[in-house]
Symmetry: C2
Subunit: 424 residues, 2 copies
Amino acid sequence: MSLIVQKYGGSSVADAEGVKRVARRIVETKRAGHDVCVVVSAMGDSTDDLIDLANKVSPEPPARELDMLLTAGERISMAVLAMAIADLGMEARSFTGSQAGVITDAEHGRARILDVTPGRITQALADGHIAIVAGFQGVSQTTKDITTLGRGGSDTTATALAAALKADVCEIYTDVDGVFTADPRILPAARKLDVISCEEMLDLAANGSKILHLRCVEYARRYGIPLHVRSSWSRHPGTLILDDPYGEGSDMEAPIITGIAHDLSEAKITAVGVPDELGKAADIFTAIADAGVSIDMIVQNVSAGDTGRTDISFTLPQAEGTKALQALQALKSSIGFTELLYNDKIGKLSLIGAGMRTTPGISAKLFRALADASINIDLISTSEIRVSVVTRSDQLEAAVRAAHTAFGLDSTEGEAIVYGGTGR
Amino acid sequence: MSLIVQKYGGSSVADAEGVKRVARRIVETKRAGHDVCVVVSAMGDSTDDLIDLANKVSPEPPARELDMLLTAGERISMAVLAMAIADLGMEARSFTGSQAGVITDAEHGRARILDVTPGRITQALADGHIAIVAGFQGVSQTTKDITTLGRGGSDTTATALAAALKADVCEIYTDVDGVFTADPRILPAARKLDVISCEEMLDLAANGSKILHLRCVEYARRYGIPLHVRSSWSRHPGTLILDDPYGEGSDMEAPIITGIAHDLSEAKITAVGVPDELGKAADIFTAIADAGVSIDMIVQNVSAGDTGRTDISFTLPQAEGTKALQALQALKSSIGFTELLYNDKIGKLSLIGAGMRTTPGISAKLFRALADASINIDLISTSEIRVSVVTRSDQLEAAVRAAHTAFGLDSTEGEAIVYGGTGR
């Protein structure tokens, strides 16, 4: 008998039929002899509907009250899911984040989990019940107010609960079959991965893969919780995310390239004609940091000739572009650059693989593949297990395809991998 | 400066516009220098929508989970109301029943309040905030599960909170202008009452008046909380409900007749030919009580001649008719009655007034007025301050009109009282 934490996203419980389908799946797991704790998101688009309602009464609703409002979404889905399970003859108990002991800081809208004290969940499981926990929410340690965890919150709830309960596995149910070598929506030849390391998954998530949020994977790695990303629409095994699947005693060899992430949500800012003097880069990035903007890649070009000036480029989320431009524009004369360029028609491709550490020549092979496909590279950045390049946004898909083929990742089955669900 | 508890029902906050209107009203009260604690129901029909959702996944949802589900309704309305208040420049904090310290027993769907420990509300008021509390809900003392209070729950929450906070008044906002001498929907000549005693209001509520629930009035009387029933659509003062407005030191005289309640929700069961022996009535009403059916009026006819048999009639909620009939049918031979009659085409009229105690002849005058209007009386029951009669349901409105006129209750303004809102 195992203790299994299962997380179902909003698209899996979008309506009453979805709730019933998920309930059957949960009951099957329980009937197979396992203890089951379920984390559930709000039904379908209900969170958006609540945000619309909030905006009808206030253009900028207070964060505390917005959290109070939005947490109604999971309250509804978890209660309805518990009812659907009861209708199948099993006893289920729903618990809010607060009742489940999800203790957070007081940062409304993006609270961090400080502790999980799941006494009521442990008791419910000991009583033979299925425990249903509201994802995405907790309670502030200091103010006792209800908080939400922000993006990827329900996945994080599931992983944190799995850690606190010492679960054998945390299953993240979604509408794709698992983690793929590339996004199957743009590359039908992408292959599903059976196993991936937390480290690789973190790099995928940080570089545009939407399948799991960074925080959830970080949590799983820190507490050594095996994650299993799989489809709620099929019975196929999905992708196991393990702390160190290639470590000592493992018979698995780290693949050179595990997968390719792509990201169209970034923009590039270039400060042109920055005086090539000590401390100018520091000035620029201090201003950016002070504006609360997080940046990704940074490239400083070599000074052209003896002009004594250089260009500094960096990428950042498009949503923060205006803020960054304003912060820099205010310092134009003190820093002494001649102009600012802004480009949000860029795409980033990242090649990720733990085997890169011991295999030279990966970057060269990538650049060659892109050149052969007539794709120009704008920026480059590398880490131990990752090579990222920025291209024109309209060339990004072609870049993913070229790299996928060049590194032998294409499915050998000669057909598209079928992946279920709504494609969301 | 007073401490005022205000309760707004679902029809007052049916949509974003309603929420904003209520928010303005609350802010006005606060700006006038009062401390304000607001109790709010779920928006419009949202509770019904949640029940529909529950029924889509389970014909008989577990009561614990139904409570978890339904309490999402007030969570939404209170958070949105707090946002609307913030948008007007005032700080408001919303609190769930549990956070507000509404401690109940564990009877899901009809929990009783055991205690109110409003520490967080007191603190919020001390901080100068407007406190918004979810009506209708609490938390079980023993199981720590979320409970709902059942019908009239939000009014009861407001009164209980007012008692715990030692509020100066508890204002119940609704969509009529106050308590009327009769239901103005069927009797446009009904007059709004300025004052009524708790005792009279209890009798009105127990006999079909929907304006306040019995439990709420009981609570107000027990703790001496003045209730003020008024319209959220107008600025007119409504009806004050006071523990003893006619007592010593008051210059008010108790009116002989305060008002007329009517009720179409009851049915009558008659057991025909019950042997006129000791203990037969006890057998019948023990069976009814064991079936969990609450009864209202009981009439035992005098035995006709020397047949040694009698008829026993009683009224009960129509919704419990089948249950009562089944319980009695099972005892037909042991009790020895010849047949059971069931009639749900009945209506009850109740004349209520604290002055009845000291004024003889009220019943006679009522019976005369009804006879003059050709209305047949089926059953009669009386208490110290009430006379109730059962008529045919299709004659009930005419009976209310006749009695209202006979006792001089008709408005002297010669026109219908305007009452706002949707008439719900």
